[in-house]
Symmetry: C2
């Protein structure tokens, strides 16, 4: 077996590191990188040797994966999915006792939208038309502006949709994509895999990770002066890893900027349901653009949405969509063709995407339990965000902007000179050094800021707000104790 | 809405056909190409104007999508999926009345294999370990040789797995991949998207789409003499679109050839359960290689499997895996990294992949009904294949090899000169011309041979064997009548 042959001689096999696609080599994805591999090894060791570490479980704060940390799925959504998976039980009397009336109704509705009621068939390459109708209606209800089901491409989560757009836009390393720094490393990875150039723009930590148009302009101009053809601007709102929520005014400036500079606006809006502060609200870029009077042919805009985030957190279902507007029919045909090569996204994910954009409504049998589940999750997330933010700000040398939205905190650590030297001595980035010691001491897994990008000379880490609420005090204690010890050693 | 703006002026939007990635432009995927777009338009017209065409339904024989044509899913598989989607009902008394005992047991087993029983969480990037254990055990039972769960990468169907390998291997147009002609156009599309060169080897129609080593050698040598670095050999067994099943002796030659020529063997084995003739059997390339004494470090082999084919035909679930053997730990790390960028494949598809590799066994409550469902599907497919093959061979100027396996017939048509001229006059490939007239006259959708590749000057089409059995006589009649009329007109 291969695990036994780790030290085996592969010299006669054809594929070497020196002969693979260099774009693959270059790509990095820290969210599941070195620190997570180390955590998995610790986990195995801990399972076999309980009590051998100063903690009894690994707390995975590296990734926005709510259900892995105990968040329960929304009952209504799962009822509908189960019924669509096994429609043979829909007419059975026992089903009435097991499932809510409206979940049964919804399953019938969905099945009626699927040609031949075949949930096991490949669908239209963009996804089942009836589900896209539902999603478009949900977008319309959210924004107050029309949405066309033909603009929706259902995908296995948002990631494949991002790859599709990068694949379309990037011809060579002379094509650039403006990305926030810090950014979610899907973007840097996808740009690297498609052989393009990431053109960074820095979010301003001092103003709550503010997005300044002057910074966009400077970076765009600098890239263009180097001969880079900048094709698109990525905006992540609410921010990942930074948690800020853009103001509508700021979004308007961004839309004008894209229009003026002839850039495609790639809007990562997967955290649209994750807002934790009363002074901020989510506005889709499509709504902002339409409210400015920009119509279909005025702005090229792609909005990415996912079933993995929000209050639903259904990461394992791999559902999502992109809504593409402002692309000519010829370009849309090309996107359709690329979608067709992979046939379609998974039908359960498609169904779930329609459900999150059209949840139970007031008066539906499930509405109260649905709302209670949703509210409990979102209000708990808001409390956890605040508790962790306060705790981090209480640590020596740590400052942390508030998580207005999304699922993360991205604190900055002033690392002492001695710590930076100790990191260098073991050939490690200082933030990775901190994250590794934190993991070894507490079992808490965070991702070093270098995995997302940061202003050179500053150090950060990303920590999710997702551990269950009752565990947060212990996590705060372990983190605080570790940090004090760390500072005592390296101050 | 964008459909209303088809004639709108997109001249001020940034993305033009002339500025997109030329690899996207170049890629083609005929299985969902022009003929299918035409069929969808006909469908819409027919729905609105019943009786307006000489047929009352479109019969989609363009794609291996069994459930879209009425094939029912295997009950046991769907029971388990439904229970895993909504585990809250597992302990309810009504559930006993709705689900088989062993589906409930299996759901419990699977949930126990998922950390935190969280079917809504991202899994390990390769897929849930326990499910990979089950799949590895299934491979071992199939082959009689060990399989390592660490060699399994679960994917959203086989297509993304093929893309991952192409992405790994292709650096530039100087890298070549040996592909059969005719081939399933996923391969040509994927090679085009990754910017490599398809090195064709022709299957020999006269010997039942035979794969001759001399042809492989000639094409390999010719490509190398042009400076192409040939990295891998794709073999599709059972064949798509050609339906042949390789003999074990032929497979041994292929393994030796890959070893001798230092090629990765990419084995598309998604039709491994679809064998319709008693004189042929499926042998995995891994089994053949191991039986020759080739161990882990002797041959780089990737086997692709899917839940979309076989007797299960669960295309919409997007489940599949690749088993990679003969790659060094460093290369495996790179594959793992690329898998991680998309986080994981959908969990329902992962569960289904484990189920198809470990279906109910003799003695299980569901075994008899499971076996009856499976046997009914496979024996009916075998009858349909034979009926269609005979019908095609009865047509003037048509010869058709038997479908020993897979889901397709790929008949050759001797088109009369007059037909070829008529096709030229409308700037269409002669086989596409034939397919279009067939569709317009009968509603039957087939894919022109040019979408798969064929010996220049020969013409074919691919037709699935999937319409429900009771419809086959009518299809044969319509096809026969059309063909006679076509020949009468153009002979």
């Amino acid at each position: 077996s291969s695990s036994e042959t780790m030290a085996s001689d592969y010299s006669s096999t054809p594929v070497k590191i020196s002969t693979i696609n260099p774009k693959v080599l270059e790509c990095e994805y820290a969210v599941r990188g070195e620190i997570v591999t180390l955590a998995q090894k610790l986990q195995q060791h801990l399972d076999k040797n309980p009590g051998s570490h100063p903690f009894d479980e690994i707390v995975y704060c590296n990734i926005g994966n709510p259900q892995s940390l105990g968040q329960q799925p929304i009952t209504f959504f799962r009822e509908v999915l189960a019924l669509c998976d096994h429609p043979a039980i829909l007419d059975k009397s026992e089903t009435q006792g097991l499932f809510s009336t409206d979940s049964i109704e919804r399953a019938f509705q969905i099945l009626d939208q699927i040609p031949g009621r075949a949930t096991g068939a490949y669908s239209h390459s963009q996804g089942i038309k009836g589900l896209r109708d539902t999603i478009a209606a949900g977008i319309e209800a959210r924004d107050g502006f029309p949405s066309d089901p033909n603009d929706i491409f259902l995908t296995d989560g948002a990631s494949p949709a991002v790859h599709m757009m990068m694949q379309l836009l990037i011809r060579s390393e002379n094509d650039g994509i403006l990305c926030p720094i810090p950014q979610y490393p899907l973007y840097s990875a996808s740009i690297a895999l498609h052989g393009g150039t990431l053109v960074p723009y820095f979010l301003d930590e001092a103003t709550g990770w503010g997005l300044r148009i002057s910074e966009l302009q400077n970076q765009l101009d600098a890239a263009r002066s180097k001969g880079i053809d900048v094709r698109a601007l990525v905006v992540i709102n609410p921010g990942n890893p930074t948690g800020q929520v853009l103001s509508e005014g700021n979004q308007k400036e961004i839309v004008h900027f894209c229009k003026k500079e002839n850039l495609v606006l790639l809007a990562d809006e997967v955290y649209q349901e994750n807002i934790y502060v009363s002074d901020k609200q989510f506005h889709s870029f499509k709504k902002v653009a339409r409210s400015l009077g920009f119509g279909e042919t005025d702005l090229s805009l792609v909005s990415f949405q996912s079933v993995s985030k929000g209050y639903y957190g259904e990461c394992g279902k791999r559902g999502g969509y992109m809504e593409i507007t402002g692309f000519s029919p010829e370009i849309r045909d090309q996107i359709y063709k690329v979608a067709s090569v992979n046939l379609c996204s998974n039908i359960s994910g498609q169904i779930l995407a329609s459900l999150v954009m059209s949840p139970p409504k007031v008066g539906d049998e499930s509405y109260e339990s649905y709302f209670a589940e949703k509210d409990a999750i979102l209000s708990s997330l808001a409390r956890r965000a605040k508790t962790l933010e306060d705790a981090l700000n209480g640590l020596e040398g740590v400052t942390c902007n508030r998580a207005e939205g999304a699922m993360y905190l991205f604190p900055r650590i002033e690392l002492p000179k001695k710590a930076i030297e100790a990191a260098k001595a073991v050939d490690t980035a200082p933030d990775a050094f901190y994250a590794r010691l934190l993991l070894n001491a507490t079992g808490i897994v965070v991702v070093p800021g270098s995995g997302f990008g940061q202003v050179p000379g500053t150090w950060h880490f990303r920590c999710t707000i997702l551990p269950q609420e009752e565990k947060i005090p212990a996590i705060v204690n372990r983190l605080t104790e570790f940090h004090q010890g760390f500072m005592d050693e390296y101050r």
